[in-house]
């Protein structure tokens, strides 16, 4: 049962096609798992349909239609919606949209980098145009705490397996935590299952305390 959802204004920007690519990635992943937010996206896409229908008409070039008509016979018709689903036994709880973005390789376990305190992570390549943004997969052992940190911009965390808690509540598989710019938090992974999650943020994390100082210097 999903308890923590995406705010309406973020879902609306996603549906309108105006949210950034990293935010779209994590919202699309959450929406795959969360029927409630998916309904909202459908509503907002319907509003998009109305926006399109009510947009002021701007005259098209006279030759446009003929150019297209001359191409129709050469187009391969798509009969059914295609999908790139590939079964991956290592990450079975990962939505396809996210799966497509994961680093390629024989085994994804090879991709984990070792962090402090048994925490493992790897970064997802978001492409040239999203250099200032980060999408990072975390695997946090049971009971481990991520150092206290704040953010330069909003931080999104989607739980894929297990769960975590921080001062704002408990988050389980499918839940999304959205931390505002000024919030400082230190998430603790579930004491039995640990936590696999995707975190997306723009700018850098700002770790607090002595350990944080070191992490900040290391740009982790």
């Amino acid at each position: 049962m999903i308890k923590h959802h995406v705010h309406a204004e973020i879902l609306m920007s996603y549906a309108a096609g105006t949210s950034s690519m990293p935010v779209s990635l994590i919202v699309a992943s959450h929406v795959t798992i969360c029927g409630k937010c998916r309904k909202d996206v459908q509503l907002f896409e319907d509003i998009g349909g109305k926006v399109l229908e009510e947009s002021s008409s701007i005259k098209t070039k006279p030759e446009t239609l003929d150019i297209m008509l001359s191409q129709l016979d050469d187009i391969d018709i798509e009969v059914e919606t295609s999908s790139d689903i590939k079964v991956n036994s290592i990450f079975k709880n990962i939505p396809v949209v996210l799966h497509k973005m994961l680093p390629k390789g024989n085994t994804l376990t090879e991709k984990w980098k070792k962090g402090i305190g048994g925490i493992k992570y790897f970064d997802i390549d978001l492409g040239e145009s999203n250099k200032n943004a980060h999408a990072r997969m975390f695997s946090i052992p049971p009971g481990k705490t991520l150092p206290n940190h704040g953010h330069e911009a909003q931080e999104f965390t989607l739980v894929l397996e297990g769960g975590f808690s921080d001062k704002s509540g408990d988050y389980n598989a499918g839940d999304i935590a959205i931390e505002d710019e000024l919030n400082v938090h230190s998430p603790v992974a579930d004491s039995t299952e640990g936590c696999v999650c995707l975190t997306v943020y723009e700018g850098n994390l700002k770790f607090k305390g002595v350990l944080g100082l070191i992490l900040n210097l290391l740009k982790i």
Binding site: E9, E45, D46, G48, G49, S56, I58, M68, E78, S83
Partner: protein, 217 residues
């Protein structure tokens, strides 16, 4: 309609002024918005019979509006024409995959135009959920009802939007027509970001309520 009586960007007003009287008149004749029934019929002709006449009619009916939508989001005339062709050719290629039990035609056209615009603009594919993802939660099934059985159903959304307070409708419009974050929009309107968020959340609650039990449940 909610789109007409709110903030226009200066750029767009300038473009509007360039439109000849004849076009304005044609625009007025096309009001109110394109009929869902008509669009659905044309798509079914394209899907079932590869009907080029239906394709031409669909283009004449919705093409100028798609172009208007793209230009309002900042595409140049040339880019909007290119994108429009891509959108229409995608409609031809994918018409058999259109499932009217899941969405209205206008919604489907919107998602195609939206995605093509992003693909071209950002030179990257928009991340979106895979409709065949086995992880899709089960209440997807509730959409299997023929929710858009009539034009009347589709009109409920327009009506619900029309009933929103102006300050909320303006922000919804800006979300769709400005390729900008809500913090930038808040700056432009000189209102706090929190106000932008709360107005959109209020509008969403209202829309869900107005449509409750009719379309989305």
């Amino acid at each position: 309609m909610f789109l007409d009586n709110s903030i226009e960007s200066v750029d767009f007003s300038a473009k509007l002024n360039c439109i000849s009287y004849k076009q304005e008149k044609q625009y007025l004749v096309l009001k109110p918005a394109v009929k869902d029934k008509e669009l659905t019929y044309l798509i079914s002709r394209i899907a079932g019979f590869k009907d080029k006449a239906a394709f031409s009619d669909l283009f004449k009916l919705i093409g100028p509006r798609i172009k208007g939508y793209l230009m309002k989001l900042g595409s140049s005339d040339v880019a909007a024409e290119d994108l429009l062709q891509e959108v229409m050719l995608t409609v031809w290629r994918r018409s058999e995959t259109f499932d009217r039990s899941k969405a209205a035609v206008s919604t489907w056209l919107f998602t195609i135009a939206r995605n093509k615009r992003i693909d071209m603009l950002r030179k990257e594919i928009r991340p979106q959920l895979d409709p065949l993802d086995p992880m899709l939660s089960p209440n997807q099934e509730s959409f299997a009802d023929d929710v858009y059985a009539s034009n009347q159903e589709a009109m409920k959304i327009s009506k619900a939007i029309d009933e929103l307070p102006v300050d909320q409708a303006v922000l919804i419009k800006m979300t769709y027509y400005k390729d900008k974050s809500h913090s930038i929009i808040a700056n432009e309107l000189k209102i706090p970001l929190g106000t932008v968020k709360s107005r959109i959340r209020l509008a969403s609650t209202r829309l869900r309520k107005l449509l409750e039990g009719k379309i989305y449940d």
